[in-house]
């Protein structure tokens, strides 16, 4: 018997030809199998002690996983003797006498470039259609002023340099410079510091293209309430980097079913993550 300890992605358990979504705590019995989708992983607990992870897509029968349950714990007494022996026979080198064995450290903090600005990875790619969202960042220093720069799709030609005192620029403020169907990049740098080399992607998606995509998302055979549909759309749009649109649908879901704590929690987290006030 196995117990699902953690899952990420598409993981299901097949028992008597019935496939169900694997959840944390799901018990996988002898005749069942576990199916993993691409990019998914599952950690299983065997005999309540041994833990192992599956991260390759495919189907695994419980029989094929039995080998992962083997343990080779030796007694504390045996381990004590081994430990004493290994300590007594350990090389007595010192950093003074053998520097080569003692230089396995860098001795400095690692940085890709000089950059006191951090952008949440969620904002690294944004598909923009309409409305507004803040392109925001955080500063590691107590800076009062920043330079926001907008680049064309070559990442080199600067379209706009905007000194700002806040830590965000609303995308709606850039509408005069951007055109539907084109890709742009942006960066933020602490004023008077060397330019930040990180560029963040913004695509101005034409309304027609978005509508086609949205219609494909909306179609479903499942029976769902209006709130459920909006929550689902919000989630999928967020996954596809349509941040402003996802915001609208999350908000609608919360308004339609204000008692649902998942909707409220997700909406609040979403606002927090993207710094939407």
């Amino acid at each position: 018997m196995f117990v699902v300890y953690s899952v990420k992605g598409t993981v299901s358990v097949v028992e008597n030809k019935v496939e169900t979504k694997a959840k944390i705590g799901t018990i996988v019995n002898g005749n069942s199998s576990i199916k993993l989708g691409a990019g998914s992983f599952a950690t299983l607990l065997c005999n309540e002690t041994k833990m192992f992870s599956l991260n390759k897509a495919g189907s695994y029968t419980t029989t094929s996983l039995k080998d992962s349950c083997k343990t080779n714990n030796s007694s504390v007494s045996a381990n004590y003797m081994k430990y004493i022996w290994s300590e007594m026979t350990k090389s007595k080198g010192t950093p003074e006498k053998n520097r080569k064995n003692y230089m396995a450290n860098v001795g400095a903090v690692g940085r890709g470039d000089i950059n006191n600005v951090w952008v949440d990875p969620r904002l690294d790619s944004v598909n923009y259609v309409s409305g507004t969202i803040p392109l925001s960042w955080k500063a590691y220093t107590e800076a009062d002023e920043f330079d926001f720069k907008l680049y064309d799709d070559s990442k080199t030609k600067i379209l706009l340099v905007k000194p700002v005192k806040k830590k965000h620029v609303n995308i709606s403020e850039l509408l005069k410079l951007i055109q539907p169907g084109k890709i742009y990049y942006w960066s933020a740098t602490v004023k008077d510091e060397p330019e930040n080399t990180a560029r963040h992607y913004v695509r101005y998606v034409p309304k027609e293209e978005y509508q086609t995509f949205f219609n494909s998302l909306k179609k479903t055979d499942a029976v769902e309430t209006e709130a459920e549909m909006n929550f689902r759309l919000g989630f999928v749009l967020e996954e596809n980097h349509y941040i402003a649109e996802a915001f609208n649908h999350y908000m609608k879901a919360t308004q339609l079913d204000p008692t649902n704590s998942l909707y409220r929690y997700t909406f609040m987290s979403f606002k927090k993550d993207f710094e939407i006030k």
Partner: protein
């Protein structure tokens, strides 16, 4: 033939140890070690202030090796009665939603290991307040502190909605190992529980009563489970998984759910404690266990009645006396008869004794959960060699001044020394006498 050979040699070496065992000087020299030990202990100044060895080992316990290097708890199963939900860095409103969500899974008790200092955004505070109010089976944290009035509990703005509470304080130095906790403290005239005690009271009243009847001011924590990147002996659920209903409906039902902060990053030390399970058991290290997992270990221990039995102090002293006495007999034999080998034998005996008696302590701890205090025994073995020199000088003075009869006497009187050697040679023909050199020390 071989067994006779072995028996003869064994007898010979046993005689090395027992030859001076019943000598008056062996008793007195052993007593001198204890006098020295007690006098050292009574000095109110910490002499180790600049001694790096002492400073490094100040927080050291031999049993820690059992966790750190000997995989003592490697096959301890996941405790199914306890589930830990990682709250991460959720704000108060998100925590409120999380509490509601967890409550929907019908756990028997929810332990919230988070303290809310002061007020924050009113809307978020209000969401949390509502959630706390609705969740009747929730046990919250109080912050307790010792001051001149005794143990006091700090007031908190959520006090009115958290009816069941306990302090989360553990016992340990600021950057020291957490080995003990206090199950109850007196606040005014009332007995106030630690958070784990309050949780156990709700979950298993029998275990609670047994803990109460132990009347211990502090309990030794029997660590059995850890959570890190390699080993997970408690079920941990991330808040996102919880909110997304990614959890089996039976996983939390009728169980203890602890809500607290778990940081998977080895270098993130927020609310992390040093425990005996730290892989580095002496010297500089980083804390190894999240506070919530320490509390979980306490709960598991109390529910299983799996307390560590500490032997009384007199047992530790008795062991130290007996073992110290035997060592003293061996050392004196080499000191007087084969002085050239004295330091080598003494060092080897000390080394093997430390290895052996540390093992005895670890074995008793592992098999019987009995904590033998071998500290005094090891101190005595370490001090015995130095004390012999001191003792010899002292009895030499007594001998010259008052004619005190001692086996060390001949070392101070060349004539007696000669006589002793001759007698000794006649008595023990098998014993090879090395020329004594210690007079030059």
């Amino acid at each position: 033939m071989l067994h006779k050979h072995i028996a003869r040699h064994t007898k010979k070496y046993v005689k090395h140890i027992t030859k001076y065992l019943y000598e008056r000087d062996t008793f007195f020299a052993t007593i001198a070690v204890f006098v020295f030990l007690i006098v050292l202990g009574m000095i109110p100044i910490n002499f180790y202030v600049l001694n790096p060895m002492k400073l490094a080992l100040k927080d050291f316990d031999f049993n820690d090796i059992a966790y750190a290097k000997l995989e003592k708890t490697a096959d301890v199963p996941v405790d199914k009665r306890i589930v830990v939900v990682n709250t991460g860095h959720l704000d108060r409103a998100e925590l409120g939603f999380l509490i509601e969500k967890v409550s929907g899974y019908n756990p028997k008790v929810i332990g919230l290991d988070i303290f809310f200092a002061g007020t924050r955004e009113p809307d978020k505070d209000s969401i949390l307040r509502e959630a706390l109010k609705k969740t009747k089976n929730l046990v919250g944290v109080s912050v307790g502190a010792w001051d001149k009035h005794g143990f006091t509990i700090e007031k908190n703005n959520f006090d009115s909605v958290i009816t069941k509470r306990g302090y989360a304080n553990l016992i340990g130095e600021e950057i020291g190992t957490i080995r003990y906790y206090s199950p109850f403290e007196k606040v005014g005239d009332e007995k106030y529980p630690q958070i784990t005690t309050a949780i156990i009271k709700e979950f298993d009243h029998e275990a609670y009563e047994k803990l109460e009847k132990r009347h211990k001011e502090q309990e030794f924590i029997n660590y059995k489970r850890r959570v890190n990147n390699d080993v997970k002996q408690y079920q941990i659920i991330e808040s996102e998984d919880m909110m997304a209903d990614n959890v089996d409906s039976n996983l939390l039902k009728n169980k203890i759910v602890l809500l607290g902060y778990i940081n998977h990053d080895h270098n993130d030390v927020e609310d992390k404690k040093f425990t005996p399970m730290n892989d580095k058991f002496a010297g500089k290290a980083i804390p190894d266990m999240n506070g919530i997992i320490v509390q979980a270990n306490i709960i598991s221990m109390v529910l299983d009645q799996d307390y560590i039995h500490k032997t009384p102090k007199w047992v530790a002293w008795l062991m130290a006396i007996v073992i110290g006495w035997i060592h003293m007999s061996l050392f004196i034999r080499y000191y007087l008869e084969s002085h050239i080998w004295f330091h080598l034998v003494a060092k080897l005996a000390q080394l093997f004794s430390v290895i052996f008696f540390a093992y005895v302590g670890i074995f008793a701890f592992d098999k019987f959960e009995v904590k033998l205090d071998m500290k005094y025994t090891l101190y005595v073995i370490a001090l015995a060699v130095d004390v012999i020199y001191f003792y010899e000088a002292f009895v030499g003075w007594l001998h010259r001044k008052f004619g005190y009869q001692t086996i060390f006497g001949h070392h101070h009187n060349p004539l007696e020394h000669e006589k002793h050697h001759t007698n000794d040679h006649n008595k023990h023909e098998t014993t090879t006498h090395e020329p004594t050199t210690h007079e030059h020390h």
